[in-house]
C-alpha cells in the first residue's frame, strides 16, 4: 500500500474527504452506500478512490442494502464501510444489530444532521448519541467514536477500523454536518507509518474451527467465506459452532461473552482529550463540533484566570464513566457543564456517573445552530 495512489503531505480537506481517505489507509476495500446529505461526499470520493487501490464501490438501492452488502463483504474477508446520515442511520439499525450478534467487523459512519425524520438535512445537530447506543433492538455491545475536526476524523476513522477488526464488531463513527463539510489543513501520513490492525484468522484446521468460540479476550477468530472453512452464520442465538440454539444456558453464556468482549476492553477503546484539567474547578464535557466552541471558551476563561477545563469525549460509547468519576471526585472540581446540540443526551450520562460528586449542568441548542463560545461562557457565569 504505497505509491502514487496515496499522496501523503499537507492537504486542505473536508471532514468527509478525510473519512474516505482514512478508510483507504486503514485497509478498507469495500464500500456500499446510498446518497444522503450530509454524508454523500464520502461515497463520492470512495467511488473514485476505491478502484484505484483495487477495491470496490457499490451504490445500492437503499440504506438497508448498503449495510447488508457491507456486512456480506466483511464476511468474505474485506474491511468494509458504509456511510449515511440520520434517516439512513435509522434504516440501518436492524442490520447493525445483526453485525453485533454475528460479530462482523465493519465501520458505519453517521454524519449527523437535524432530526427526527427528515429534520434539517443541511444543518448540524447531535441528536443521534442515544440512537448510536440503543438504535438496534436487544442488548448489544457498541463502540462509537466521535471526532471534533478534519484531522481527528481521519485518525478516528482509522481507529474505528482497527477496533472493528480487533473486536469483531461494527464500529460507529459519529460526526457532525459541520465537520463533514468544513475544510481544514491536515497532514496525510505516509501509508506505511500508520498502525493497522487486521482481524485474527483461525490457525486451527477447518474441522476444529468454531466461529464463535471466544478464545483470548472473548473475541473469536474469523475465517473468511470461501477459504475452506464451511461455517454457518446466523442472527439467531447460536452456540460456538454458529448454529442456532434455544438452550437458555448457552444463550446466557454467549450474550454475556458478547457484552463482555467490549466492556473488558474499556482501556483500549475509551479515549478522551483533556485541556487545562489539572486544577479545573469547572469542567466542560463536550464532543464533536461543540468541543471546538468549548475549547475556545476554556482558553478565553483561562486568560481571565477562571479555572476551567475541557474534557472531550473521543469515544462516546462505551461511555468514559471511569475517567469522569475520577475527575468528578477531585476536591477542586465543583461543576460539570455539558453543552450539546440535542436535548441533553450526554447530560443524562454525565449526571448518572458524576452527579453524586459535583454539580452537573446542561446547555442545549435545538435550532441546528452551533453553540458558541460566548454561550458557554455565559452558561458558566450564570450557574
Amino acid at each position: 500500500m504505497s505509491g502514487p495512489k496515496f499522496k501523503s503531505g499537507l492537504r486542505l480537506m473536508s471532514g468527509n474527504e478525510a473519512v474516505a481517505e482514512a478508510a483507504l489507509y486503514a485497509g478498507c476495500r469495500f464500500f456500499a452506500g446510498y446518497p444522503i446529505t450530509p454524508s454523500t461526499e464520502i461515497a463520492e470520493v470512495l467511488s473514485k478512490r476505491l478502484p484505484q487501490v483495487g477495491g470496490f464501490f457499490l451504490q445500492m438501492e437503499d440504506e438497508i442494502a448498503s449495510i447488508a452488502a457491507t456486512l456480506g463483504a466483511s464476511l468474505a474477508g474485506a474491511k468494509s464501510m458504509t456511510a449515511t446520515s440520520g434517516p439512513g442511520f435509522s434504516l440501518k439499525q436492524e442490520n447493525i444489530g445483526y453485525g453485533c450478534i454475528a460479530e462482523i467487523p465493519c465501520v458505519v459512519v453517521n454524519v449527523q444532521r437535524g432530526g427526527p425524520s427528515t429534520g434539517i438535512p443541511t444543518g448540524p445537530m447531535q441528536g443521534d448519541i442515544m440512537q448510536a447506543r440503543w438504535g438496534t433492538h436487544g442488548d448489544h455491545p457498541v463502540i462509537v467514536l466521535y471526532p471534533d475536526g478534519v484531522e481527528d476524523a481521519f485518525w478516528e476513522t482509522i481507529r474505528a477500523f482497527n477496533l472493528a477488526e480487533r473486536y469483531r464488531t461494527p464500529v460507529i463513527l459519529l460526526t457532525d454536518e459541520v465537520i463533514g463539510h468544513m475544510r481544514e489543513r491536515m497532514f496525510l501520513p505516509k501509508p506505511g507509518t500508520v498502525s493497522i490492525y487486521n482481524r485474527r484468522k483461525p490457525r486451527r484446521i477447518p474441522e476444529k474451527y468454531y466461529p464463535y468460540q471466544g478464545g483470548t479476550q472473548d473475541v473469536p477468530t474469523m475465517a473468511p467465506y470461501g477459504e475452506g472453512y464451511r461455517f454457518h452464520v446466523t442472527g439467531l442465538f447460536h452456540d460456538r459452532t454458529g448454529f442456532p440454539t434455544n438452550e437458555p444456558a448457552v444463550i446466557d453464556a454467549e450474550m454475556r461473552r458478547l457484552l463482555r468482549k467490549i466492556s473488558r476492553a474499556y482501556n483500549d477503546i475509551v479515549k478522551w482529550e483533556e485541556l487545562f484539567m489539572d486544577d479545573a474547578e469547572e469542567v466542560i464535557v463536550a464532543f464533536g463540533c461543540t468541543a471546538r466552541s468549548a475549547r475556545a471558551a476554556v482558553k478565553r476563561l483561562r486568560a481571565r484566570d477562571r479555572k476551567v477545563g475541557l474534557f472531550r469525549l473521543k469515544t462516546v460509547w462505551p461511555f468514559p464513566e471511569r475517567a469522569l468519576i475520577k475527575i468528578a471526585k477531585r476536591a477542586h472540581v465543583k461543576k460539570m457543564l455539558v453543552p450539546e446540540m440535542n436535548n441533553g443526551q450526554v447530560l443524562f450520562e454525565v449526571e448518572r456517573v458524576a452527579g453524586k460528586y459535583c454539580d452537573v449542568e446542561g446547555l442545549q441548542r435545538l435550532d441546528s445552530e452551533m453553540i458558541t463560545p460566548r454561550q458557554i461562557i455565559r452558561a458558566l457565569r450564570e450557574n
Partner: protein, 272 residues
C-alpha cells in the same frame, strides 16, 4: 443407485424444522443433485438466505452458509460475490422474503445482473408465522390475515424478474422434479443473475385454509394446472389462460456486474 444426499448435509443439524408435507425438502434435494451434477466443490458453494421457512435451509447444508435478516439475503450475497467472485452464490428465499420485504433488493439485483442464483420457494403464504397473506397469495385465497379472501392480485415472479432485467428466468414446481433439477442446474450454470421460482406446497398454512388439506392434493394441483411454456402456445387461447406456465421463460446474456467491478478496479489501478 440412490443418490447420497448425506455427503452434502450437516446430518447433526437434522431433523429440520419443516412440517410434514412441506415442499421445501423436494427443492432442497433437487438443489443438492444440481450442485452434485455440476461437480462444484463444497468449499465453492455459498448459500445465503433471509428469514422464513426456506431461509432455514442453509443451516442444514454443508457449504459456506449465511442466514441473514428478513428480505436482505440478496444484498448480503452481493457483498460476498463482489469480494469472492469464485464462489457460486445461491440464495434461497420464500415468496414474502423475496418480493415483499425484499422486493426492492430483488428488482435491483435483477437489474445489476450479478452472477448469482435466486431460488424462490413460493408457497403463496407466510408459513413460519402461521399463514398470513403474501404478495404471491392468489386473489381471493384465504389466509390468517385475509379471512374474507385476498383482495390484491399476486405478483407474477417471472414478469417481475424479466422486467427488472434478470438474464435467466425459470419456473418449476415440486411435482415436476425432473424439470426442477434441470432448471436449477441451468440457473447455477448461467453467467448472470438467475431466478428460479418453485411453486410448492404449504399444506399446514395455505392448504388447510384453501380446500387443499393434504400435500398430495396440492401436488396434484400443479400436475393438473401447469403446462410447459412452449406447449402453452399450442393450446387454444381460452384453455391457455387457465394454465400456469412452467419451464425456462428466458435466457439472455449481457455484461455481468462482478466482472465489470473487477475490470474497473484493474483499469483504475493501472492509471497513474
Amino acid at each position: 443407485m440412490a443418490f447420497d444426499y448425506e455427503q452434502y448435509l450437516r446430518v447433526d443439524r437434522l431433523p429440520h424444522i419443516w412440517c410434514p408435507g412441506c415442499g421445501h425438502g423436494i427443492i432442497f434435494k433437487a438443489l443438492l443433485r444440481s450442485i452434485h451434477g455440476l461437480e462444484i466443490d463444497k468449499n465453492d458453494v455459498m448459500l445465503v438466505s433471509g428469514i422464513g421457512c426456506a431461509s432455514r435451509l442453509p443451516g442444514y447444508a454443508d457449504f459456506n452458509t449465511l442466514h441473514t435478516t428478513h428480505g436482505r439475503a440478496l444484498p448480503f450475497a452481493t457483498g460476498i460475490k463482489v469480494m469472492k467472485p469464485n464462489l457460486h452464490v445461491i440464495v434461497t428465499s420464500g415468496d414474502g422474503d423475496a418480493v415483499a420485504i425484499g422486493g426492492n433488493h430483488f428488482i435491483h439485483t435483477c437489474r445489476r445482473n450479478i452472477d448469482m442464483t435466486l431460488i424462490v420457494f413460493n408457497n403463496s403464504i407466510y408459513g413460519m408465522t402461521g399463514g398470513q397473506v403474501s404478495p404471491t397469495t392468489p386473489y381471493g385465497s384465504f389466509a390468517s390475515t385475509a379471512p374474507w379472501g385476498n383482495l390484491s392480485v399476486h405478483f407474477d415472479f417471472m414478469k417481475l424478474a424479466q422486467g427488472a432485467g434478470a438474464t435467466f428466468v425459470a419456473r418449476a414446481t415440486t411435482y415436476h422434479v425432473k424439470l426442477l433439477e434441470k432448471v436449477i442446474t441451468k440457473a447455477i450454470d448461467h453467467k448472470g443473475f438467475s431466478v428460479v421460482e418453485v411453486l410448492e406446497d404449504c399444506p399446514t398454512a395455505y392448504g388447510r385454509r384453501n380446500k387443499m388439506r393434504g400435500p398430495v392434493q396440492m401436488m396434484k394441483f400443479w400436475k393438473d394446472n401447469c403446462v410447459m411454456i412452449d406447449a402453452l402456445e399450442k393450446l387454444p387461447l381460452e384453455a391457455a389462460k387457465e394454465k400456469i406456465p412452467i419451464g425456462i421463460f428466458s435466457q439472455t446474456t449481457r455484461q455481468e456486474f462482478t466482472d465489470e467491478q473487477h475490470q474497473v478496479a484493474q483499469r483504475a489501478m493501472g492509471e497513474e
